[in-house]
Amino acid sequence: MYPAEIKEYHKPDSVEQVLELIANHEEGESLLLAGGQSAMQAIKSRMLRPQCIIDLQGLQELKTINDESETLKIGAMVRYCELVKSSSLNNNFTGLKDAAAHVGDRQVRNRGTIGGSVCWNYAAACTPTAVLALDGNMHLISSDGEIKVICADDFFLGPLDTAKSESDILISVSFKKSKTRSGSAYKKWGLVKDALPVVGIAAFVKLDSNGSCCEARIALTGMGVGAQRAAAGETPLLGSYGDPQSIEAATENICANIDAPTDLSATSDYRHQLIRSIGAEVILTAFKRAST
């Protein structure tokens, strides 16, 4: 597994320099490298053949988590292990913490980044799923200086496909802080503990002052299309208190509306069963977290 020829390697230390480098290369020539936990494998297997690698690991400005009054802003180069440790992610954003803690093995979590993961949007990946359920916003800057904010629903287009264009760099992922009680959770199932998710589910619920659900977002991965909303599961939760009947209605609705593939990891029917089982656990956890 040796890569095709790579003619240039750059390790800029500012976003400005990155944009300049992108602008100086033809489309398809350059590749932004974040933690490299997926991209390097793709390069070594020659699935990707970049002529120029722009290594983002020198960008200190993208490595911070800003806990602002109304939003939580996570720099694109924040690593999974830092997400797992960050107290800023407690309460509302625990679902993202769950997801970051579930990615790969310890070595991957020490190097992989939130930005790399959302921009790669692998067919089965934990972080994009949590970002989608938590309604994250991707902040991008284009090489021509344009600043774009794309919400998760519009950002994740399909496996290995996002709304980020090649001339964009992702700066941060932000989340609005909920004014009322809210909670989130994520869980995956894989054959081995460090496997990619065969099924991964993230849930976010917001409760009104009576403790009844006024907003719900559920996202799913493992169905062959990357992170996807499971809106069918959200409706039964609205107005509920996280009771078993509503949760079961939610997971059954998801199963009825989602085509689950059969592949080497699981049959379609078994994926549906995992959606029922893990889905119920995740939704209940989100409710519990919102109520405490």
């Binding site: 020829e5 093995d105 054959l191 081995v192 069963q273 995992l274 089982s277």
Partner: protein, 801 residues
């Protein structure tokens, strides 16, 4: 540096000495094949078949050849008249089989996805890979043979045309040598089945899985006219590789030296065959007069090697209502893959698997037969638990099913039928030399406490929790005696070691086997230290270099604790004889070796402990000052010993595990894993524990997670670790090991070879536990892998009204 020792211990045997090799291995200082650098080395990349079965109608090399930095390109066509084809006697068993003819690169057609078609040699690895993409091979697809049963039918496409059949090997293992005796035995077995009160008949399937050494294969060959060929190979059997390279490339044997690197990232059987890649790399180095190196990628490794276990067993057991086993009938059908691998050819594993099928049980009668089918898949590769992972899964599962039918505890049924007097010869004529199976079994069952477990199980069930207990056991080879290894692999089984003392009292040991992490350096040092009464730190061990070591058939079949250390001990004892003869002469006493004690760096006359010498002085005197010696003595202290036990030897183990099955998803968790082991006298308990941990983890990983999958065109779909899933530490339970040993009477130290066969009792014990947990649903699982998905499906079926 001296070694830490329990101050109360009088010798080194049985000490938990930290492994001598570990410091360098865990600090990244190990020297593996890829760390060996010869200036000017060229790099090799194989172009491998994209099809499972296809004629090669043309290969266009023009673009690849014109790439700057490409030195040579070989194809089957341009080497077939220059390299002798396989098979060659040195790597061909003495078993009647239809051995396919093949060259290192495909000639005429390809027979599996991943077969080498061309070899690029270039200035560096990058150029070689770039050029390999430019080789254009035209294929004409042929029908693929993938199902072993269909492969054996008369109208099947044939993989190797010259044979006219896909049946590479078949055999009946019971009843005697000739067909008549076998048939009359079968008739007797059939009669028992007809009148037996209890009969269980099932088809058991084990999937294609095996072992995956952390370091894949590699070869580095260097040629010069005066010394000939030096081949560094990741291998378990350098001495066999040397002879094979000599025969195939017609290089006179004194001009071939094979060196297995001191550090190898695991072997597990995968590095025991003689592979075609070795031949062509050696040929390229010789032809080009330059060092040539090939390092296998993970992708190539998963596509080509480490695949075993792929077998169907149609098994029947007859028993009476008291739980006495009356007869066993088994017809095995093994999927051999293409069979183009030296030494084993695929079928040798199922062959031994059939011999080992009866396990530790007394079978009054049995009929056991096997057919092995060639298919368009990678050739089976030996993988720890050589051959008997499938048969043992079937047997251990089937025994539980008999117990269920009778309404008896499966552990009790097992105990009733264990071989209780050794030595014993099995129905397949396998000799069990010594041990105490009942002691091992009873130790385990006492720990497991079944009546307490049954109480716990029914309480759990009241809470809708499904827990279960499962048992299994295994008779395993302790080394492979020449009696078995000569017919099976055309190689000797004896162990060989050279022990060399130097004038400073330090010791070098040379062994011809080539370990891959088992701890030979440490256990050997403990044996030597114990024999001479010196510190293990004073002992260094060299293995794997045919230029310096005595002949050995390789690191296979648990040979270290059985044959190798026995040869080491015998060589030490030969030197002790000489040392004490000369010391007695110097001390002017009449005494023989047994009158001296070698301890704490001294050689002491037991009759008068003031009469003694330091070990270093007497050794230096014999090597450096060989004057005033007894009559007929000469100086020097260097001995080579060969060890062969009079009879084949075994070790024995038993497993018990407790699982909890999630009734909603079929997912399960292993709550407890207990084992008891008879490994004979233990040299280093930590090393033995490590062998057991590794083997049990591999058994679990094979049974549950790992599976090589081919699609219906024979495309290999699992050639990466995203799809071929290995258990990690997070996926396996703590393992609680107990020893219930009986010293082996046939080895000088009472030790047994251990670890090789150990994974084989795992899938049965684990699946038995899952089925036990699901007793209320009467679920009997007969196929591996044991996946939550398939367990869930069985639960759904069982719930159907």
């Amino acid at each position: 540096m001296t070694s830490a020792k329990d101050p109360n211990s009088i010798e080194w045997l049985g000490e938990r000495l930290a492994r001598k090799e570990d410091l360098r291995l865990v600090t990244g200082k190990g020297k593996y094949l890829a760390d060996i650098v010869i200036p000017g080395t060229l790099h090799a990349v194989f172009v491998r078949s994209e099809y499972a079965h296809a004629n090669i109608t043309g290969i266009d090399l023009s673009e690849a050849e014109s790439m700057p930095g490409v030195v040579a390109i070989y194809t089957g066509e341009n080497i077939k008249d220059r390299i002798n084809p396989m098979p060659q006697a040195i790597v061909q068993p003495n078993l009647p089989a239809k051995y396919p003819t093949f060259w290192p690169l495909a000639v005429g057609k390809v027979t599996f996805h991943g077969e080498p078609v061309a070899l690029i040699i270039a200035r560096d690895k990058y150029i070689a890979e770039d050029a390999s993409e430019l080789v254009l091979v035209d294929y004409e697809e042929l029908p693929v043979v993938l199902d072993p049963e269909k492969a054996l039918s008369r109208n099947s496409t044939v993989v190797h045309e010259k044979d006219g059949t896909n049946e590479i090997f078949s055999m009946t293992f019971t009843g005697g040598e000739n067909e008549e005796a076998q048939n009359s035995n079968e008739a007797e077995v059939n009669a028992i089945f007809e009148s037996a009160p209890v009969v269980v008949k099932e088809r058991f399937k084990t999937h294609r899985t095996g072992l995956t050494p952390m370091e894949p294969r590699g070869v580095l060959c260097d040629w010069n006219e005066s010394d000939g060929l030096t081949a560094y190979i990741t291998t378990q059997r350098p001495h066999i590789d040397r002879l094979a390279l000599s025969d195939i490339l017609e290089i006179s044997a004194e001009k071939v030296r094979v060196i297995a690197p001191r550090d190898q990232g695991g072997g597990f059987g995968v590095k025991a065959p003689f592979y075609r890649e070795n031949i062509i790399i050696a040929y390229a180095a010789k032809s080009l007069g330059k060092p040539v190196r090939w390092i296998e990628s993970r992708y190539e490794s998963l596509m080509n090697v480490g695949q075993e276990r792929d077998q169907i067993n149609d098994m029947e057991i007859a028993a009476d209502l008291e739980g006495n086993l009356l007869a066993l009938r088994n017809k095995g059908i093994a999927d051999n893959g293409v069979g183009t691998t030296g030494v084993y050819w695929g079928f040798v594993m199922p062959f031994l698997g059939a011999i080992e099928l009866p396990n530790a049980y007394k079978w009054p009668k049995a009929h056991i037969s096997l057919k092995v089918a060639t298919t368009n898949k990678a050739c089976l590769t030996p993988s720890r638990a050589f051959g008997h992972f499938p048969t043992r899964f079937a047997l251990e599962r089937c025994i539980d099913m008999v117990a269920h039918k009778i309404g008896m505890e499966a552990s009790e049924l097992r105990r009733n039928n264990l071989v209780d007097a050794l030595p014993y010869t099995s129905v397949t004529n396998e000799y069990y030399d010594s041990g105490d199976f009942l002691k091992v079994w009873d130790t385990l069952v006492e720990k497991a406490d079944i009546s307490a477990f049954r109480k716990r199980q029914s309480e759990a069930l009241n809470d809708n929790r499904y827990i279960g207990i499962g048992f299994g056991c295994g008779v395993e080879l302790s080394g492979v005696a020449s009696d078995l290894l000569v017919p099976m692999e055309n190689q000797p089984g004896y162990g060989a070691a050279t022990v060399r003392l130097d004038p400073r009292g330090k010791v070098q040991v040379f062994g011809g086997d080539a370990p891959g992490g088992q701890g030979h350096e440490t256990t050997t040092a403990q044996v030597v230290a114990s024999e001479f009464g010196i510190d293990p730190a004073a002992v260094v061990v060299t293995t794997g270099d045919t230029g310096t070591t005595p002949f050995g058939s390789g690191s296979i079949g648990a040979r270290a604790g059985s044959y190798f250390v026995s040869a080491v001990a015998d060589a030490c004892r030969e030197l002790k004889e000489k040392i004490t003869r000369i010391l007695a002469y110097d001390l002017k006493i009449e005494a023989r070796t047994e009158h001296f004690e070698f301890t704490d760096g001294e050689v002491i006359y037991i009759g008068d402990r003031s009469k003694k010498s330091s070990f270093v002085s007497i050794v230096e005197r014999i090597i450096m000052f060989p004057i005033n010696l007894p009559e007929n003595e000469v100086g020097g202290l260097d001995a080579t010993a060969f060890f062969e036990a009079a009879k084949p030897m075994i070790c024995f183990n038993a497993d018990c595990c407790v699982v909890e099955v999630n009734i909603e998803t079929g997912d399960f968790e292993i709550l407890e894993w207990m084992t008891t082991e008879d490994v004979g006298n233990v040299i280093n308990p930590m090393v033995v524990d490590g062998q057991m941990h590794g083997a049990i983890v591999q058994g679990i990983s094979n049974a549950v997670f790992e599976e090589f999958v081919y699609d219906d065109q024979g495309q290999q779909l699992t050639a990466d670790f995203e799809n071929y899933k290995l258990a990690t530490a997070a996926d396996v339970p703590n393992i609680d090991i107990h020893y219930a040993t009986t010293p082996c009477p046939h080895t000088p130290l009472g030790t047994r070879g251990i670890g090789e066969g150990r994974p084989s009792s795992i899938p049965g014990a684990l699946t038995n536990a899952v089925c036990d947990a699901l007793t209320p649903l009467k679920i009997e699982i007969t196929e591996l892998p044991l996946r939550p998905n398939s367990i869930w499906e069985k639960i759904q079926q069982a719930k159907q009204p």
